[in-house]
C-alpha cells in the first residue's frame, strides 16, 4: 500500500524567511517571542509565555476557532481500523509558524497554527496497520543546525528524526531515520515510555524506559523483584550515535552501588525518569528526576537507600557526567516516584539571586535547589519516620523534609482529614477509617488482615497516583511564583504474603495475586468513603501558588466544581470542591490557564462529565473566565502568536468525544 502524504506548504514567503531567521537562534534553545518550544514554554519547562494579547480585559471574547481530530482523515482512509486512543498526550510545539505534535497514534503531524489544517504527516514504515497503530506521546522536540531543521519524536521502541519542512525521515540519522531505543543489555531489553525526547546543545536526552518489567519493558506486575534498570541516555542529534549512558543503578565500583544490600543491584530495576526532563543549555546541565525501584511497595530484598531511585540528578549534557544529585525519598515503598518535571527558574532569596531548580514530587513536597550546585535553597532536614512492621522490610530511619516551601497538598492521614460535609457523613467516614492504619506521611505499607475487623492496610496520603505528577508545575519568571497543580487522593497499601508460583517477591500489594477477570474487587483501594464519596476532605484538585522568593504559599484554590453536585452534597451550598485528574497549567503575562482533566487518562479516576478551561488571575487565584471544552484536557495548554494573533490550544480527549486539539483566539 502506498500512502500519499501531503507536502509541506512552500507558498508562504514569510514562513520561509522565518525558518531561515530562527536557525541560529535554535542553537541557544530559546524561543522567539510568540513561539512555544516545549510544553508551552521553553526547556526550563516553566510553561510560561510573555504574551498578553489575551488578557483579563478581553478574555470574555475568546472563542473556539478550530478543532482538529487527533488522527488525520487521510490515515483513516488507508487504515479503516486505525483508531486513536482518547488519551491524546500530544502537547504541540509551535516553531516557525508551524505546530508539530505526536498525533493520536504517535505519528508526528505538522499543522497550521491559525487553521489547524495539515501541513504534513509522518509516514509509518512499513505502511501496515500494525506499524500505524500506536499511542500518543507527550511531545516532540526541535533541533536546527544551519539549514537543517529536524523534529525528533519517540514512538514504540524507536527514536525518529524527521525533516521539519517535509515530514520525511532524515536518512543520515541512525538506520534510515530512526534508532532503536532497546537497551544495550545482552537481552536487548525493551524500551517503553510516553515522554518525548529533549534536545539540547546537539544532544538528544532520553530519560529512560517507563515501568520496566522483568524483560525491561512496561509493566511492574507487582509480584517480581526483577527488572531492568532504566538508564538515562544521550544521543548525537546529527547521527543518532549513542554518546553516553548514565547508570540509574550504580554498577560495582561506581559510587552508590553499596546502597543496594543483599546484592540486589544484580536484578533490581525500573527507576525510569518518565516525567519530562529540563535543561539549562547555558550551564550545560540536564535535570533528570528518577522514579521508584522494583518493587514499588516492598523492598525487603533491597535494604539500603537505593541510589539513584527517587533522586534528582544533574548531568553534563555533552558527557552524561554526574554533576550533582539529591535523593528526595530513601528506599521508596510508596511508589512516590519523582514524577514531575524539574522546573528551572531564577528566584531571589534573602537578596541573593539564585538559579534554581524546583522539583515537585508525588508526595506533595516541592524541593528547591541551586541548580548549579545541588545545594538546597532552604534546609532539607532528615527527620525520623515510622518503621515498617512487614517481616523482612527495611525502612529508612529518616526521610528528607523540606523546611520551605510548605507542602502543596494534603500529607498524612488522621481523623482530622476525613470528610465532614455533614455530621452523619463524618461519622461514617470515621467508622470506615478504622479499617486502615492511619499516620503521618511516610507511614509504611502494612499487612492486610483477613479478619473481618482486621486492618486492610495503610491509608497513605498522598497515594501512589500522587499529589504531584507529570502535569505539576509552572513558573512565572517575572514574579518568581511556582504554580503546583495537584490532586488529593489517598492510596491503600495492604500487603499480603505472596503465594503465586510466579512471584519472586515475599510480599505484594493486597490484590496483586488475588484478582481474576470478572471478580469483584473491594472498593477500598483508593480510600473510597461513604456513599461512594471520597474519604478525605477536599479540594480534590487544586492549584497552589508558591512565592519562591519567600518559600511561602500565596494562595490555594480548588480547580473546578468536582463532586459539588453529588446528591448528598448539592443542597449544602458548598464551594468548588476541585476536580481530580492531571491538568497542566499555562502562565501568561497576567493569566494562569488551567483546564480540567479528562476521563480518558490514566490517573483520571473520579473525573466525570464535561470539562472546563479556566483562566485565573495569576496574582490572586480568582477565576476571570471559563468555557466548556468538548472533552477534558489530556495534555498541556499552549499559547503562541500566528499572523499577529494570540492563540490558546489544548489537547483534549474523552470517552464520548474521541480526541483532538482545540484552538481559541479573539475575534
Amino acid at each position: 500500500m502506498r500512502i500519499k502524504i501531503r507536502k509541506a506548504s512552500t507558498g508562504c514567503i514569510c514562513v520561509a524567511l522565518l525558518w531561515g531567521g530562527i536557525a541560529s537562534l535554535r542553537a541557544k534553545e530559546k524561543p522567539l517571542l510568540g513561539e512555544a518550544v516545549y510544553f508551552g514554554g521553553d526547556k526550563t519547562l516553566d510553561r510560561y509565555s510573555p504574551l498578553d494579547q489575551i488578557n483579563k480585559g478581553n478574555i470574555k471574547d475568546l472563542k473556539l476557532v478550530w478543532e482538529r481530530p487527533s488522527l488525520d482523515a487521510e490515515y483513516k482512509e488507508h487504515f479503516p481500523d486505525l483508531t486513536p486512543s482518547n488519551y491524546l498526550r500530544g502537547t504541540p510545539i509551535m516553531i516557525g509558524n508551524v505546530l508539530f505534535s505526536p498525533d493520536g497514534v504517535g505519528l508526528v503531524e505538522a499543522f497550521d497554527p491559525a487553521t489547524g489544517k495539515t501541513r504534513w504527516i509522518q509516514k509509518p514504515f512499513p505502511a501496515t496497520l500494525k506499524e500505524a497503530a500506536g499511542e500518543s506521546y507527550r511531545t516532540v522536540d526541535f533541533w536546527a543546525d544551519g539549514k537543517e531543521k529536524r523534529i525528533f519524536s519517540v514512538r514504540g521502541e524507536y527514536l525518529y528524526c524527521i525533516d521539519a519542512k517535509t515530514g520525511e525521515v532524515v536518512n543520515e540519522f541512525g538506520e534510515h531515520g530512526r534508532i532503536s531505543l532497546k537497551r544495550d543489555t545482552p537481552d536487548h531489553a525493551k524500551y517503553f515510555g510516553w515522554n518525548g525526547p529533549l534536545v539540547v546543545n546537539g544532544v538528544i536526552i532520553m530519560g529512560g524506559n517507563g515501568g520496566g518489567g522483568p524483560e525491561g519493558g512496561y509493566g511492574d506486575g507487582g509480584l517480581q523483584k526483577e527488572a531492568r534498570p532504566e538508564d538515562a541516555r544521550g544521543f548525537d542529534a546529527r547521527t543518532g550515535k549513542l554518546l553516553w549512558s548514565f547508570h540509574v543503578l550504580p554498577q560495582p565500583g561506581e559510587p552508590g552501588n553499596e546502597t543496594w544490600g543483599l546484592d540486589s543491584w544484580k536484578y533490581v530495576g525500573n527507576m525510569a525518569a518518565w516525567a519530562p526532563l529540563t535543561a539549562d543549555a547555558k550551564l550545560g546541565y540536564v535535570y533528570i528526576p528518577f522514579s521508584a525501584p522494583t518493587n514499588s511497595w516492598y523492598g525487603g530484598h533491597r535494604p539500603g537507600i537505593n541510589l539513584y531511585s527517587d533522586s534528582l540528578v544533574a548531568l553534563e549534557i555533552k558527557t552524561g557526567k554526574l554533576m550533582w544529585y539529591y535523593q528526595l525519598i530513601h528506599h521508596d515503598i510508596w511508589e512516590y516516584d519523582i514524577a514531575s518535571a524539574p522546573v528551572l527558574g531564577d528566584i531571589t532569596v534573602g537578596g541573593k539571586r539564585i538559579h534554581a531548580v524546583m522539583q515537585a514530587s508525588k508526595n506533595g513536597f516541592l524541593y528547591v535547589f541551586d541548580r548549579r550546585t545541588g545545594k538546597p535553597v532552604w534546609p532539607i532536614e532528615e527527620r525520623p519516620v515510622p518503621k515498617s512492621t512487614i517481616p523482612g522490610e527495611w525502612t529508612s530511619p529518616t526521610q528528607p523534609f523540606p523546611t520551605k516551601p510548605p507542602a502543596f497538598d494534603r500529607q498524612g492521614s488522621s481523623e482530622a482529614d476525613l470528610i465532614d460535609f455533614t455530621p452523619e457523613l463524618n461519622a461514617k467516614a470515621v467508622e470506615l477509617s478504622k479499617q486502615y492504619v492511619l499516620g503521618p506521611i511516610y507511614t509504611p505499607p502494612s499487612l492486610k488482615s483477613d479478619a473481618p475487623d482486621g486492618k486492610k492496610g495503610t491509608l497513605a496520603i498522598p497515594g501512589g497516583w500522587g499529589a504531584g505528577n507529570w502535569n505539576t508545575g509552572a513558573f512565572d519568571p517575572e514574579t518568581g511564583v511556582y504554580y503546583a497543580v495537584s490532586r488529593t487522593e489517598p492510596g491503600v497499601y495492604g500487603m499480603v504474603k505472596t503465594d503465586d508460583p510466579k512471584a519472586t517477591i515475599d510480599y505484594a500489594f493486597g490484590e496483586a495475586h488475588e484478582h481474576r477477570p470478572g471478580e469483584a474487587r473491594p472498593d477500598y483501594r483508593r480510600g473510597i468513603g461513604p456513599a461512594g464519596l471520597p474519604l478525605i476532605k477536599p479540594p480534590y484538585g487544586r492549584i497552589t501558588a508558591l512565592d519562591m522568593n519567600k518559600g511561602e504559599i500565596l494562595w490555594q484554590v480548588a480547580n473546578g466544581d468536582g463532586i459539588r453536585n453529588h446528591p448528598l452534597l448539592k443542597d449544602l451550598n458548598l464551594p468548588p470542591l476541585g476536580s481530580p485528574g492531571r491538568p497542566a497549567a499555562l502562565v501568561t503575562k497576567t493569566l494562569l490557564f488551567v483546564p480540567e482533566s479528562s476521563d480518558a487518562i490514566m490517573g483520571g479516576a473520579g473525573v466525570t462529565g464535561p470539562s472546563k478551561l479556566r483562566a485565573y488571575d495569576k496574582a490572586t487565584g480568582a477565576v476571570v473566565w471559563d468555557t466548556d471544552l468538548p472533552a477534558g484536557a489530556t495534555g498541556g495548554p499552549i499559547t503562541y502568536l500566528s499572523g499577529g494573533k494570540q492563540y490558546v490550544v489544548v489537547p483534549v480527549g474523552g470517552k464520548k468525544y474521541g480526541s483532538g486539539w482545540v484552538a481559541f483566539t479573539l475575534p
Partner: protein, 136 residues
C-alpha cells in the same frame, strides 16, 4: 429441537429482552461463541487485566458494566475491535493478532451480559453486523 426452532427462539429472546441488535445476516442466537469468549478471557488475563480490571480500581477504564456502556453503547462491535487492535496493549499497540482481538471482543461482550452461542465470529468484518446495546 431443530436449528430453525433454535434460531426462532433465539431471535425472539433477543427481541423481547432488548439485549442486542442484530443487523441483517446473522442467523445464530449468540453473537459470538462461548468457546472464543473463553479464549478471549485467557488473552484478557494476559494482556489487559492489569489495566482494565472488570472489577474496577485499575489504571484504565473497566470494561464491564456502566464504565463500558458509557463508551460503547450503541456502537458496532467493529469499533471496539478497531480500538483494541489500534491501541492495545499500550506498550505495544498493534501487536495482538486479529483472531485474538476477535476473541477479546467476544469476551468483553460476555462480560457485559451479551449472549454467546456456538457459532464463532470468524472475521473482523462480521463484527460490523453486531451493535453493542446495553441490556435493559
Amino acid at each position: 429441537m431443530t436449528m430453525r426452532r433454535l434460531c426462532c427462539l433465539g431471535s425472539s429472546a433477543i427481541t423481547l429482552l432488548g439485549l442486542v441488535t442484530l443487523i441483517a445476516g446473522a442467523d445464530e442466537p449468540g453473537l459470538y461463541s462461548k468457546a472464543q469468549a473463553k479464549q478471549g478471557s485467557a488473552t484478557f488475563g494476559e494482556k489487559c487485566l492489569s489495566c482494565h480490571d472488570p472489577a474496577g480500581g485499575s489504571w484504565g477504564p473497566s470494561l464491564k458494566g456502566d464504565d463500558f456502556w458509557e463508551s460503547w453503547n450503541g456502537k458496532p462491535a467493529r469499533a471496539l475491535y478497531s480500538k483494541i487492535i489500534s491501541t492495545m496493549p499500550q506498550e505495544d499497540p498493534g501487536s495482538i493478532p486479529e483472531k485474538d482481538v476477535i476473541n477479546l471482543v467476544s469476551y468483553i461482550m460476555q462480560l457485559n451480559d451479551l449472549p454467546g452461542g456456538d457459532k464463532p465470529i470468524q472475521t473482523a468484518d462480521e463484527l460490523n453486523k453486531i451493535k453493542l446495546q446495553k441490556p435493559k
